[in-house]
Structure formats: structure tokens, C-alpha cells
């Protein structure tokens, strides 16, 4: 019944002759949550960035909702898309970064509405009312007029999530959303993400929070050295890893 929302096929990316991502294939069905785990430098961020084409793969294809990302066919030949066309495709995908990356010169409300108003050309009133309700959902209804610098890390990250959601994406990408947070602030962000997963949002989450992966993920992917080493249900990958590298990694992190 579920349909394939994200389809990654044989994606490879090199940085200066070093493989960052190496022949990775995976897919995410609509409404599923995929967690990607793995050691530092294993290419998790690069893969995520390939999905919304912040990084262009060297080879391989990624399609979201059946549409090829960053590639267009002309006369049967695949061509790289212009940056401008990719902008349109990115609007369907929300992204949350490790370092929040809120716009520091804008209030929370302005952060949330910048995209909808300037990019989607929505009306201000419409964008703001949706923003207000999203802020309410992540528990920050009273912070609309604060500046990012006035918020704690956990609050900032929840604003970042709301900002991405206010673009009404089909898919949410998270790159270690909690790893820049103080331990006691991690909980509130994970809670917001769990709530989001419950609403049926399709999510790809790079994370080191094994508890979260176990609880929320439909699938877990373990990457190392740019490759997918192991994939499966959280219970299988996290509790009975078959690959020695997975075992080694989990023993360090858990």
C-alpha cells in the first residue's frame, strides 16, 4: 500500500578523488522513517545532501516522489539541471541541520515565513498563521518574536524544524539534529521529532541517538566509508548486527 517516496540508486560522490559516498542504493516509502547511523566521515551528511541536491552526485540517481532530482531528460539524454530548477525541487524537502542554521538577523516568525513568502509566494497572513500553529506544535507558541540568539539550543532546533515544516514538504531530512545540544535539551527535540513521525511525515534522519532510532525508525541503515554496510529493522541492526564493523561502532556508541 505504501509508495516509494525516495529512491536512491547507485549514488557515488567523490571529493578530490576520495569517495565520500560509494555506490549507495536505498529507498524510503511514504510515511516511513529511515535512520542512518555510522561513524564520523562515513558519508552520512553527504548522502543526505545528495538527496536534496545540495551536493550533486557524480553518478547514480535519486528520485523523490517519482521525480529525478537534479537531472532532466532532453531527447532521451539525462542532463544536469540548472541550479534554478533544482531550487523548485528542494521545496518539497525540508532539511534540519546539526548547527540549526537559523537566520540570526530575523525573528523566529520571519525565519519561518521567509521561505513560504519569498519562495512559494504565499500570502503573508497565510504563512504566518500556519507558522504560528507549527510553533505551537513544537511548544514555542510564545517565541514568535524572539531572535534566535535569545533561544536555547533546543528551542533553536525546534524552530529549525518548524521552519522546514512551514514549507509543507513531502519529506524531512535531519542531519544529526541533536548532536550540538546539551544532553538535557536533546529530549525536547527528539520529542518534537517523534510527534512529527506520528503525523505520518516521511523522514530521513542521520543520528547518533540509538534510543530514538529504536523507537521511531522503520528502517536503520549503517554506513561506513561511504557505503551502506548493513540495513534492516532497528531491532535487527541495533541488537543483532551481522557485520563486525557495525558491532564495533555500536559498542562504542551505546
Amino acid at each position: 500500500m505504501t509508495s516509494r517516496l525516495v529512491d536512491v540508486k547507485h549514488v557515488t560522490k567523490l571529493f578530490a578523488d576520495e569517495y565520500a559516498v560509494r555506490d549507495v542504493s536505498l529507498h524510503v516509502d511514504s510515511g516511513e522513517v529511515l535512520c542512518i547511523i555510522g561513524p564520523s566521515g562515513s558519508g552520512k551528511s553527504t548522502l543526505l545532501n545528495c538527496i536534496n541536491c545540495l551536493v550533486r552526485p557524480d553518478s547514480g540517481s535519486i528520485s523523490v516522489d517519482g521525480e529525478l532530482i537534479g537531472i532532466e531528460y532532453r531527447n532521451g539524454t539525462p542532463y544536469e539541471m540548472t541550479e534554478r530548477s533544482i531550487c523548485f525541487q528542494r521545496r518539497k524537502m525540508g532539511m534540519v541541520f546539526q548547527q540549526f542554521n537559523l537566520f540570526p538577523h530575523m525573528t523566529v516568525m520571519q525565519n519561518l515565513c521567509e521561505g513560504p513568502i519569498r519562495v512559494l509566494h504565499e500570502g503573508r497572513a497565510e504563512a504566518q498563521s500556519r507558522a504560528a500553529s507549527l510553533l505551537g506544535q513544537v511548544g514555542l507558541g510564545d517565541k514568535a518574536d524572539s531572535y534566535p540568539s535569545e533561544l536555547s539550543g533546543g528551542q533553536q532546533q525546534r524552530v529549525a524544524i518548524a521552519r522546514a515544516l512551514n514549507m509543507q514538504p513531502d519529506l524531512m531530512l535531519f542531519d544529526e539534529p541533536t548532536s550540538a545540544l546539551d544532553p538535557e535539551l536533546v529530549g525536547e527535540v527528539l520529542y518534537a521529532m517523534k510527534e512529527l513521525a506520528r503525523t505520518g511525515m516521511t523522514m530521513v534522519v542521520v543520528t547518533h541517538e540509538m534510543g530514538f532510532a529504536r523507537e521511531v525508525a522503520d528502517n536503520v541503515v549503517f554506513m561506513a566509508e561511504g557505503r551502506v554496510i548493513e540495513e534492516g529493522s532497528p531491532a535487527r541492526v541495533l541488537d543483532t548486527p551481522s557485520n563486525p564493523r557495525t558491532k564495533d561502532f555500536l559498542s562504542k556508541v551505546l
Binding site: 532539511m95 541541520f97 537566520f103 521561505g115
Partner: protein, 292 residues
């Protein structure tokens, strides 16, 4: 261990506003030297002020006589006008050049580099003379096919008025300097901001305008302040092509009356006023951009 736990629990149980056990309070270091120095400095400044105001060489009555002279005021206006327009050209063109310098397009890159190299090298005096007398070299400006027929033709002198020449000479050079400053500013914005804006689906121009440039202001403003203040005074170079701004207006008067020092003081007073007002405005804008 227990004694510790105990004595701490006592402190912990005292309520929120509870009495603090007063600890040792050291006497703050006094700075008698600093006070003395302040006194000395103040006295020195007063002495200089007295010396300056009583020295007959400064000819204060003459200063008073010319301070609001209509020629001086007209010169001041010209100075402001030139500064604003040349700086505007410098900022717009400079931003463009900075973006070209930072773009991945090799051609734009090289062109921008060439422009900055050339216009920073040629003294503004020469540029002014050159633009003013462009006609000596090219009597008519033609738009047309190289070596072929010309489509549009116009007398150079009629197109390049003295004012145009002044603006070109000052503005084009300023753009080269400004480009370097803005480039530094753009590079100072964390890359994450760019990525975040991209991830929201913003196209490049919008990212620059809404996200990167506003944030680079913090770094850009102080050196641009320097540039504006330089420009206020550099406008005096346009006197070479018949444009009487503040300083040259003063020079025109003293070259007749030989009251050099008092008239230079008149000019300086106005420069001080203008620069002070500008600095005030700058620190205001700076605070605004530094707040967040």
C-alpha cells in the same frame, strides 16, 4: 565524606532568596595612576585648546567671517552630493564585482580581478583628468560593429559633463576598493547560512539579498565607514576638473586673500562636522547589525 555532604545540604536547604554566608570581599584595586593620567590628559587638552584659540596665527576672526560664507556652504553641498553619488556607485558596482569575484564563472572572475587591479592602481587624479578629457582621445563615442559601421555616434564632450567625469572618476575607483571589502564580508558569513537558505529552496540572488548580505554587514560596515570618510575628503580631487567642492572653495578664497590657515580651518570645521555626523550614523547602523 559525610561532613561535606552535611555542610552543603545546609546551604541547599536555605530557600531561594535565602541569606548568603558572606565570603571574603577583597578591596577593589584602585587606579590612582589612571585618575592622575586622566587629569593630566584633560589639562593637556585644555592647554592645547587655549593655545589654539589664543594663537593669533589661527586668525579666528577670519574663520568666523568665512565659516558660513555662501561659497563655502555651496562647496560643502557639492562635497556631500559627490560623496553620496560616488559612494552609491561604488557600493552597487562594488557588490557586483565582489559577487563576480566569488562566482564560479571563470570569465566573471577574471574580469572582476582585472577591474579591481586596474582601478585600484590608477590614481584618482589621473582618472578624473582622463574621464574629463576623454574627448582628447576619442572625439566621438560610437556604438557599433568593430571596424564596421557605427550605429550610434555622439560628441564625447556633450556626453561627459564635468559632473559625469567627477562621478566616474571617483565612483569607478571606489567600486574597486568596495569590492574587496564586500568580498571579505560575504566570506565571513558561515557557510551554514547559505546551505540553510538553499535548503529552503531560495535561488542564489534571493539568498544573497535576504540572507548573506544582511549578515555580512557587521563585518563590512567598519571598513566601509573608513571608505566613506576617505571619500568625503577625496572629493577635493575633483577640483582638478573645475568642480569646486568644500576644500577647493576654501582654497579659491585663500589663493586670493592669502589667509591660508584660517580658511583651511573653516574647511576642517565642516569636515569635522560632517565626519562626526556620519560616524554617529555609522555607529547607529553598526549597533543595529551587531545586535543579533
Amino acid at each position: 565524606m559525610n561532613d561535606r555532604a552535611d555542610n552543603v545540604t545546609a546551604a541547599a536547604t536555605s530557600d531561594e532568596g535565602g541569606q548568603l554566608t558572606p565570603g571574603l570581599v577583597p578591596v577593589k584595586r584602585k587606579h590612582p595612576g589612571q585618575w592622575a593620567a586622566t587629569l593630566v590628559a584633560t589639562v593637556l587638552i585644555i592647554l592645547i585648546a587655549i593655545s589654539v584659540s589664543t594663537n593669533p596665527g589661527f586668525e579666528w576672526p577670519v574663520v568666523g567671517q568665512y565659516l558660513f560664507d555662501v561659497r563655502i556652504l555651496e562647496g560643502l553641498l557639492k562635497t556631500l552630493e559627490l560623496t553620496v553619488i560616488a559612494m552609491a556607485i561604488g557600493l552597487v558596482l562594488g557588490t557586483l564585482l565582489a559577487l563576480m569575484r566569488l562566482s564560479n564563472n571563470r570569465l566573471l572572475n577574471v574580469l572582476s580581478w582585472l577591474y579591481i587591479w586596474f582601478f585600484r592602481s590608477i590614481p584618482p587624479l589621473v582618472q578624473l583628468i582622463f574621464w574629463y578629457n576623454f574627448a582628447a582621445l576619442y572625439q566621438t563615442l560610437k556604438i557599433g560593429i568593430p571596424f564596421g559601421p557605427s550605429l550610434l555616434e555622439a560628441n564625447t564632450n556633450s556626453i561627459i559633463s564635468p559632473f559625469t567625469a567627477a562621478i566616474l572618476g571617483l565612483g569607478l575607483a571606489q567600486a574597486a576598493y568596495t569590492a574587496e571589502v564586500i568580498r571579505g564580508g560575504i566570506l565571513s558569513v558561515p557557510r551554514g547560512q547559505f546551505l540553510a537558505a538553499r535548503a529552503v529552496g531560495m535561488p542564489g540572488a534571493l539568498i544573497m539579498r535576504r540572507i548573506i548580505l544582511p549578515q555580512s554587514m557587521k563585518v563590512i560596515i567598519p571598513p566601509i565607514g573608513n571608505e566613506v570618510i576617505s571619500m568625503i575628503k577625496n572629493t577635493s580631487l575633483v577640483s582638478v576638473i573645475s568642480f569646486a567642492e568644500l576644500l577647493y572653495s576654501a582654497q579659491l578664497i585663500y589663493s586670493r586673500t592669502y589667509q591660508t590657515i584660517p580658511l583651511l580651518i573653516v574647511a576642517c570645521i565642516w569636515y569635522l562636522v560632517v565626519v562626526s555626523l556620519f560616524t554617529l550614523g555609522q555607529s547607529f547602523v553598526e549597533r543595529k547589525y551587531r545586535e543579533r
